[in-house]
Amino acid sequence: MFKNDFPYFNNSKVVYLDNAATTQKPQVVIDAQVEYYTHYCANTHRSSFSDANKATQQYENARTTLKNFINASKNEEIIFTKGVTESINFVASSFAKKFDTIIISSLEHHSNIVPWHMQGRVLNKGLEVVKCTPNLEFDFEDFERLLQQHKNAFVSITHISNAFGTIHNIKAIIQLAHKYHTPVLIDGAQSLSHMPIDVQDLDADFFAISGHKTFGPTGVGALYVKEKYLKELAPYQTGGATIQSVDYLGSVLLDSPYAFEAGTQNIAGVIGFAQALEYLNHLGYDSIQKAEKQWYEYLDAQLHTIEDIVFYNTTHHAIGSRSFNIKGIIHDDIGILLDKMNIAVRVGHHCAQPIMKALNIKGTIRVSLAFYNDKKDIDAFINALKKAISLLKG
């Protein structure tokens, strides 16, 4: 039913189950971008002719839409970026640089590991990793121990594991970190496509958002910054539209968010992203979560009927992604055959090599659902998986 809103499903014969990598885009998102490029294509925040004003207005409306969507208190707290990767790199090379220690979880993807490595931080030398339980759940005791040991720390933790779907209880994580006066960045790459986010209720200090994983265009995302940290936040890149005045003696920067959005932005992308959020508002998270939960449980039940399947977590406190292997078969082999049967899943390390190494595996087969997936998709996938296994083991 939801698929009718997404032109991809009319044009491709692929059973799309790779939503943790990117989601499909509804027609309204595509239309909004076409509308910008074909009717009022002009730069924002610079010129003041009519189309430029309209572009600026639409761009700033998008900021308000996102602010309301995540219940931020002010538009100034919303900074548009290229995506989660840029949001984390921004904080890493700016605000978080001054901290002695960065604390991450065991389930991070490379976007929340490599930026810290680039600062010369490695395990036990400026970087600490919170342990997880055998079911890949966050170990709060270990976390508290790290918070006690590292007084001058910054916490940067994913909300939902892209590889395993594990949901971290970020409200409790933030509360505990704040008890030790430690600020927290939440990597929300996988969040908004599955559940509502209220940054005030969570008391998040920084929240990284992806557009393209939330049914919006690629190359757009955002960073929420709690107002009290805006003054301490230095831009990590500067340029056009970030300044109040410039002469050869120096530059005076504008306030947030403009100081942080250097150069011409992905205007069409931002406008399209706002439409994706409006679309989600229109559907409502209740119906999104109802649809998703039903098929996630069905997927899990169907996978359990497969002989020699190995899981690394349960579906308890997990959403969207389900990762597994088949004993005696390398995940790559399954991926190749599924592709030949027009099933799109991801096989490999899912840009999360450290947790794969900890589990002593090279990777998994990951099915990741979005609300538009249905029983037909899962049945097609399960049949193809069974066929692939029988070909490989036959």
């Binding site: 078969i329 390398i330 790559d332 082999d333 190749i336 055959l337 592709d339 030949k340 049967m341 070909l391 490989l392 036959g394």
Partner: protein, 139 residues
């Protein structure tokens, strides 16, 4: 049989299947024909560069010809390894040193094999040429 003739024979076998999945089924079955490969030889020195999965390849000289043995930890790749071993074994050092081909194109596999796997196949040929070159220099 020359290298060219052997390639042609595999190409005809592969071209027989219009359905890509059937092509893979054929490749998987070829992998089952691989001779057992000594685990002691599954060491870094014998690894082929460029493969997504692990491929080990060793070489043996009998009279003036070279013979190759190998395996992979991936089932589909085993079939590809089998083809490569069959094609290039029982050839002279001169013949192997003269190889200058795009094996993927020769076997008409560019549509079937992903770019990642293609570099693995190219890696196997490189390894074979390295072995042939080592024997040439030993002379």
């Amino acid at each position: 049989m020359s290298i060219k003739t052997k390639i042609q024979a595999f190409k005809e076998d592969l071209d027989f299947f219009e359905d890509e999945l059937q092509k893979y089924e054929f490749i998987i079955d070829l992998g089952k024909k691989l001779k057992p490969f000594d685990e002691k030889l599954q060491i870094d020195k014998n690894l082929v560069q460029g493969c997504t999965s692990q491929v080990w390849l060793v070489c043996e000289k009998k009279e003036d010809k070279l013979y190759f043995y190998g395996t992979s930890d991936a089932i589909i790749v085993k079939g590809l390894v089998y083809m490569i071993l069959e094609i290039f074994s029982d050839a002279t050092i001169e013949e192997l040193n003269a190889i200058d081909m795009d094996i993927i194109k020769e076997l008409n596999l560019s549509e079937v094999i992903t770019p990642n796997r293609q570099s693995g196949l190219t890696g196997m040929i490189k390894k074979i040429k390295t072995y042939a070159n080592e024997y040439k220099e030993m002379r």
